[in-house]
């Protein structure tokens, strides 16, 4: 085992937020770290949008019906696919980070990324086809 179990520790500032979206000169791990944080923040924002939207259910049947007519429009369903991409990436990359951060398969972290990609891509394609009514 080449690394102690647990998260990477360092003193002082972590990577600047402005650097999260700058892909140049970054290794695969750095890019997936940035995308993990971006999808994480997006999912937290979505959590509160989701909880807010579900309050329509408290208002009643007609409010929920009106909401459904908006979110089931074809244009809006594209957002669902983006959301599912965010969920899949965060979940699969999160498993990779948990394994590597806990000291497992540290030397295979690049391979784990591609395994996660191989699992996530067909799931995303299936979900997109299903969302648009094809499966």
């Amino acid at each position: 085992m080449s690394a102690a179990p647990g998260p990477v520790r360092h003193k002082g500032r972590g990577p600047a937020v402005s650097g999260w979206v700058a892909p140049r000169g970054r290794a695969l791990g750095g890019r997936s770290f940035a995308l993990h944080r971006i999808t994480g923040i997006a999912l937290v924002i979505y959590l509160y949008v989701h909880l807010g939207v579900l309050s329509m259910l408290l208002i009643g049947e007609s409010a929920w019906g009106d909401f459904l007519s908006v979110v089931t429009a074809k244009g809006f369903l594209a957002f669902d696919v983006v959301l599912i991409f965010g969920l899949l990436f965060h979940a699969l990359n999160g498993i990779r980070v948990a394994l590597v951060g806990s000291g497992y398969l540290v030397r295979h972290q690049r391979a784990l990324f591609w395994v996660a990609t191989a699992i996530g891509t067909p799931l995303l394609v299936y979900a997109a086809i299903h969302v648009f009514g094809g499966a």
Partner: protein, 112 residues
């Protein structure tokens, strides 16, 4: 180290619970976009097993989200004064989130 363990633990729970939530809520219903109608939502939430699963999902997602925000905020190096507010602030936000979710779930389950 304790925050790391809780992040990983809640993350592992979420992989299972989010998968159940997504499939059950959005992939088994024939309605447009896989969305349940009002009555279908009430009937679904009123199932005691589903109610417990959704409550577990709510707790896991709130814990994981707060710990994720905590990690990002600490990485931004907010200074000693800022650091003092992070944990209490996230405890309040997480507690409000879980409380609102439980009110929502319970109200809907009782309406069925």
């Amino acid at each position: 180290m304790r925050a790391w363990r809780w992040t990983v633990g809640s993350g592992v729970a979420l992989v299972v619970l989010a998968a159940v939530h997504m499939v059950a809520q959005h992939f088994v219903v024939d309605e447009a976009g896989g969305m349940r109608t009002y009555q279908q939502v009430l009937d679904y939430i009123a199932n005691p097993i589903i109610f417990v699963i959704e409550c577990g999902f709510l707790f896991a997602v709130a814990i994981h989200a707060m710990l994720g925000l905590r990690g990002i905020l600490l990485d931004l190096d907010p200074g000693p004064r800022g650091r003092r507010w992070i944990d209490p602030g996230l405890w309040v936000l997480g507690t409000v989130t879980v409380a609102y979710g439980l009110v929502l779930l319970t109200t809907l389950a009782l309406r069925a």
